[in-house]
Symmetry: C2
Subunit: 261 residues, 2 copies
């Protein structure tokens, strides 16, 4: 049995998120992938994603894996899959990985990008890929706010209420803002993310940019550990899963873990 890792990009517009919602008839990325991989391999394929993305959220570097006995060489899988997939989903890369590789459990960090279109009028081409902020933003203050969110913290205040997780502590390795014309890109890398965490973090940083909050309020919000202390959840279309990292030299070190098969 092979274990195949795919790096995929998708335009989340019009999809009900990544994760299959069996029996609902709702269109999801996972089901579209499983259907096409099922046709190619002539097997019932289950796709394991690095994590779910919400409806309307995009991916440039989502990672999934699936088990199969197919003899299609990995390097030929992308074109074969892309010829059957809708153009809104693209397999960028396929690799054979060790049998115990698991796209979700082995992920060590993820990078998301949230895009803000910061101009009075938003051009129509960006409406599904950015969130429109027509007012001026104080980038210097926003960068200070981002810096306060970096590091190891309890992110309870930045997690959608009603989520049942035990541990709200996550480490944000970096949270940076770059500007390209009227686009502000918030890139955040961390070892894990709570539900809606990026969209709430950027929403809170925007409140700083609008002078509704001071950067120094961020430590207080973190300390409060209460969702109502932070800013609003921004809409999904500005969010894109850029990259999922796995242990360096994964293949080798993974094989050498001494698993008994």
């Amino acid at each position: 049995m092979r274990n195949i890792k795919l790096t995929i990009a998708y335009d989340g517009t019009g999809y009900h998120g990544f994760q299959a919602q069996k029996g609902t008839g709702l269109l999801t990325i996972q089901e579209a992938l499983e259907r096409v991989l099922g046709i190619l391999t002539k097997e019932q394929v289950t796709v394991i994603g690095s994590g779910r993305t919400d409806a309307g959220v995009h991916a440039w570097g989502q990672v999934v894996n699936f088990h199969s006995k197919t003899r299609i060489p990995a390097e030929r899988l992308p074109l074969a899959a892309n010829s059957l997939l809708p153009p809104s989903i693209v397999v960028r890369k396929a690799e054979d990985v060790p049998p115990d590789f698991h796209a979700r459990f082995d992920a060590v960090s993820k990078t998301y990008c949230y895009t803000i279109y910061n101009d009075r009028i938003m051009l129509p081409f960006w409406r599904n890929y950015a969130y429109h902020v027509p007012v001026a933003l104080d980038t210097v203050q926003m960068k200070k706010a981002c810096a306060y969110l970096e590091g190891r913290h309890d992110f309870s205040a930045f997690c959608a209420s009603g989520t049942a997780v035990k541990n709200y502590v996550r480490t944000i390795e970096s949270f940076r803002i770059t500007q390209e014309g009227c686009l502000l890109k918030f890139a955040v890398t961390g070892d894990g993310f709570l539900y809606n965490m990026v969209r709430i973090m950027v929403g809170t940083v925007l409140d700083v940019g609008k002078n509704k909050l001071r950067p120094e309020d961020i430590p207080e919000i973190l300390k409060a550990q209460n969702r109502v202390a932070a800013g609003t959840t921004l809409p999904p279309q500005g969010l894109c899963l850029m990259n999922v990292e796995y242990p360096p030299h994964f293949g080798k070190s993974h094989l050498d873990r001494g698993r008994e098969v």
Copy 2:
């Protein structure tokens, strides 16, 4: 009666082109604009475009004008219209212009951009805004081909067959290729364009890039004055109307034309 010029951008995906197709029930840019301007002005508004764009073709700088007695100041019109328009259509600018300004008849040149995504795999975000060419292209040869198309020529070979125009002579001021990563942008400026002309011109230049034609074949194709001599018509989604030029100092010179009102 005021005459108001609007500069608009739109995402042509999902529209049946610019021009109203009365009674067909098909969604067009012109009808969406007329409906919204009708609500704002409380008048029956007719919008005059600089020209039509086909289904799926985009615009960054389409120009239209309309006559109205509305008292809404021009500078307030964009936000007012945008609040009612679907997010796929945006009014970028509104200006009062002399009463005889006509978006179509006064246009002296237009610039179109055709975008090619030149990589083995096309990212899904570009599927409605670029044409995918997965094979290598010879840019040097394509630039030579573009140069042959610049100037004043009979473009019969580059006009969709079945068009009833009398004069196929047009002047292409410039036809340039720029590269941004895997995006190839073909920018063409001219005093007028025949039906499908840009899409056939870029299609023919691509044949040169694929070594199916030589740049030196272009003069022969022009001379043939026969549609079958040129390359295929590329699909609409790569095309965008970037800019429409009107006489310099238009307002003044226009007013001074000595029209008798």
